[in-house]
Amino acid sequence: MLKISRYVAAAAAACLPTGAALAAWELNMPVGVTELSREIHGLHMLILGVCAVIAVVVFSVMIYSIVKFRRSKGAVPATWDHSTKVEVVWTVIPIAILVGMAIPAAETLIKIEDMRDSELTVKVTAYQWQWHYDYLDKGVSFFSRLARDSDDARRLNSGIDPRTVDNYLLEVDNRLVVPVDTKVRLLLTSNDVIHAWWVPQFGLKKDAYPGFVNEMWFRAEEPGVYRGQCAELCGYDHGFMPVVVEVKTKEEFEAWLQAQQQANGAAESEVAAVDSQTENAAVATVARAE
């Protein structure tokens, strides 16, 4: 069943404009670049197809009735008002369809929940309003917040046309960098309110809670830059905390990681500066809360 849906999906994808960020008039969910995102897209197309078929049947009957059985055309109403046989049929058939839908959905769900054999763990801590990424056991960690040019343009009546800003609201100062074809496990938590980490091209989003640690995983299959946003209302600047992931080849990733580690000693003071920045943000939040 899933296979068929994949063909449908592929056919649909071929017809739709899918040119990443520039695609205005985008209609559909992206297929994405992970196994899970493709399966999720397949499920989406499958259930959409099922709904479309049912819609065609039901709406056809309705439209036919509306056109055909008009009093103005002298239609005479029938006198029957129930039929047990028909009623049983249209109760049982939907149940069968739903069970048929539930099976592939459950299969994908089991894969999504299987966290085993992860190769890299990144702890993601959400703040109002930025992300903090910590590569566990690697000694690399940094904040990631809205890129400066977007931040300038998004001010109320800034006078800057968002169309002149590259990746408006979908760019950050420091991207999360991960290797391609690697099972990356994210540990999600929050420092303040609830946020949600989401990259549509990876197929999943998950909430980040204060005091709890949530987990999710992805394995990106193509190097590139993938963009998403915080997906849980988190206050004033909820709309302005993008998630940007850069997927590099394994070699490039190793080189990047080493560079980060080397720079780390020198950058300790810089980190402290970012920390104090966060503190200011926090103070501002508290002030607003009071």
């Binding site: 209609l27 819609a55 009957v61 249209w90 197929g203 607003r288």
Partner: protein
């Protein structure tokens, strides 16, 4: 469906020896007459519909193009929050209570609601409650901006508006519970002789079930927001991780209320549609019994699907599977309803007066909302849809061309009965066509936005979302302005117009005792109970 014997129906048109309505403000402030209270409820909700609509237009105006042009993000968040609270608790729910007040006694052959003084009280709480809620727009720190779901810890960052809005929610809850108790007591104790439960019009049936839902879940909401209040001011830690609490637990408690709440807003709509379609199809409702059982099963299922609003919180696999299956199951009784309405118009003799137009649009467009609901039930896909504009599109399809269209259908159906005047059909049809077109221009593109990756509740967006947002905003203004016609039609009909007959509609089939009364019905109707065979 019941066969109504009309011989007793007119018995009350000729005994107006005793008092009519009081004069002046006392009639309204001290109202105990179900018709007066129903009228007040309906006018109140119409007012709130425009207030909440204005807020929606602020939202859509800001989203008309990328960049922030009109409001800051805080005010934007207040608008989304207040729009939801006003529309849900101020517009849709009181409107259905208003219809219940007017129609349930007339439909079951009762002289009034069972508890008229409580009825007065439950209405008059509402203006206070909403004055309180709307006043938060002017307090230090602004109106609540954490979404109508008030998730902690974010909601605990609300300023002075916090206790005011929580108290307002308590008042709305108290009002709804009183309204619900009144409906149940009226239906259980005051049906005319011979009006067995399974002869009741479906509107009364769906309201009976809705009333039980209200009593079961409104207090749970009251409890949840009370816990927020004590967490904020009295040092408890129900939802604060720091004190050993759990913010996810709030979501569980909230949605234990929140999902039945969705059905509280749609079940009476099903009832209204089930009254109107047979009338204008001139054919009895297909599968009356199935309709009642489907309503009851939807109500039951609504208690065991709440967690589908929160699949992304990180639930155990078994939990996700259970809530997915239970949610999908709701599609079955809901499907039965849609199939039954379709079977009712099949081989009927249809005419297309405004109530029928709205009812047919309801069936089409609510079904679209139902489909997207089914899609949202598929957990893996929900990981993509969750908290995007796809969800916004989904619930607006269910609530606007769903619940709101059903309300408009109901008003157009019974307005001549209430006022005694036929309204301006041409204008009403204009209202319908403009609404039906613009509502789709408004909400259909939001499916695309959500699928393409636009989160909900954001005041600004990447330029890739610009085109559909602009179209959606155009739809919003078109839809909003079209509603002015609705107000015009209603006020014209109140002031005058062609005399409506007792049966109002040219149909052999309008069922229900309300059509045995004059239009408008006498101030005190059915003081001698009619007999139903």
């Amino acid at each position: 469906m019941s066969t109504v014997d009309t011989h007793a129906g007119h018995s009350d048109t000729h005994h107006h020896d005793h008092h009519g309505p009081e004069k002046g403000w006392r009639r309204w402030l001290l109202a105990t007459n179900h018709k007066d209270i129903g009228t007040m409820y309906l006018l109140f909700s119409l007012t709130m519909f425009f207030v909440g609509g204005l807020m929606a237009l602020v939202i859509r105006a800001e989203l008309f193009q990328p960049g922030l042009q009109l409001v800051n993000p805080q005010f934007f968040n207040s608008m989304t929050t207040m729009h939801a609270l006003v529309m849900i608790f101020g517009a849709v729910m009181p409107a259905f209570v208003g219809l219940a007040n007017w129609m349930i006694p007339l439909q079951i052959g009762a002289p009034d609601m069972a508890l008229p003084r409580m009825n007065n009280f439950s209405f008059w709480i509402l203006p206070f409650s909403f004055t309180l809620l709307l006043s938060t727009l002017f307090v230090e720190g602004g109106a609540p901006a954490s979404g109508w779901t008030l998730y902690p810890p974010l909601s605990l960052q609300t300023g002075n508006a916090f206790p005011l809005s929580i108290f307002a929610i308590h008042l709305m809850g108290a009002s709804s519970i009183m309204g619900a108790i009144n409906v149940i007591v009226t239906i259980m104790n005051m049906r005319a002789p011979g009006m067995t439960l399974l002869k009741m019009p479906l509107f009364a049936w769906t309201w009976l079930i809705t009333a039980y839902l209200l009593i079961a879940v409104m207090p749970v909401l009251a409890g949840a927001v009370t816990m927020l209040l004590t967490d904020h001011y009295f040092g408890t830690s129900f939802f604060s991780a720091a004190g050993g609490g759990d913010p996810v637990m709030y979501q569980h408690i909230f949605w234990f209320f929140g999902h039945p709440e969705v059905y509280i807003m749609i079940l009476p709509a099903f009832g209204v549609i089930s009254e109107i379609i047979p009338t204008f199809a001139r054919k009895r409702l297909f599968g009356y019994d199935a309709m009642v059982y489907a309503t009851a099963s939807i109500a039951f299922l609504s208690f065991i699907v709440w967690a589908h609003h929160m699949f992304t919180v990180g639930m155990p696999l078994a939990g996700q599977m259970f809530f997915m299956l239970a949610t999908m199951l709701i599609a079955v009784p809901t499907g039965v309803k849609v199939f039954n309405w379709t079977a009712t118009i099949y081989k009927g003799s249809l005419s297309f007066e405004p109530p029928m137009l709205f009812a047919l649009a309801f069936v089409f467009l609510f079904t679209i909302g139902g489909f997207s609901g089914l899609m949202l039930a598929i957990v893996p896909a929900d990981f993509q849809y969750h908290d995007t504009y796809f969800v916004v599109a989904h619930f607006h399809y269910v609530l606007v061309p769903g619940a709101v269209f059903a309300l408009m259908a109901g008003v157009y159906y019974w307005l001549p009965k209430w006022t005694g005047h036929m309204y301006n059909m041409t204008l009403a049809k204009w209202h319908f066509w403009l609404s039906a077109i613009f509502v789709n221009v408004l909400f259909f593109p939001q499916h695309f936005l959500g699928l393409a990756g636009m989160p909900r509740r954001i005041p600004d967006y990447n330029t890739q979302f610009a085109d559909w947002n602009m179209i959606s905003s155009i739809g919003a203004f078109g839809f909003g302005l079209s509603q002015l016609l609705f107000a015009v039609v209603i006020f014209q009909a109140i002031r005058g117009g062609a005399k409506a007959t007792d049966k109002v509609w040219d149909s052999a089939a309008p069922h229900g005792l309300e059509w045995t009364l004059s239009s408008p019905p006498p101030y005190h109707s059915f003081e001698v109970a009619p007999e139903v065979k």
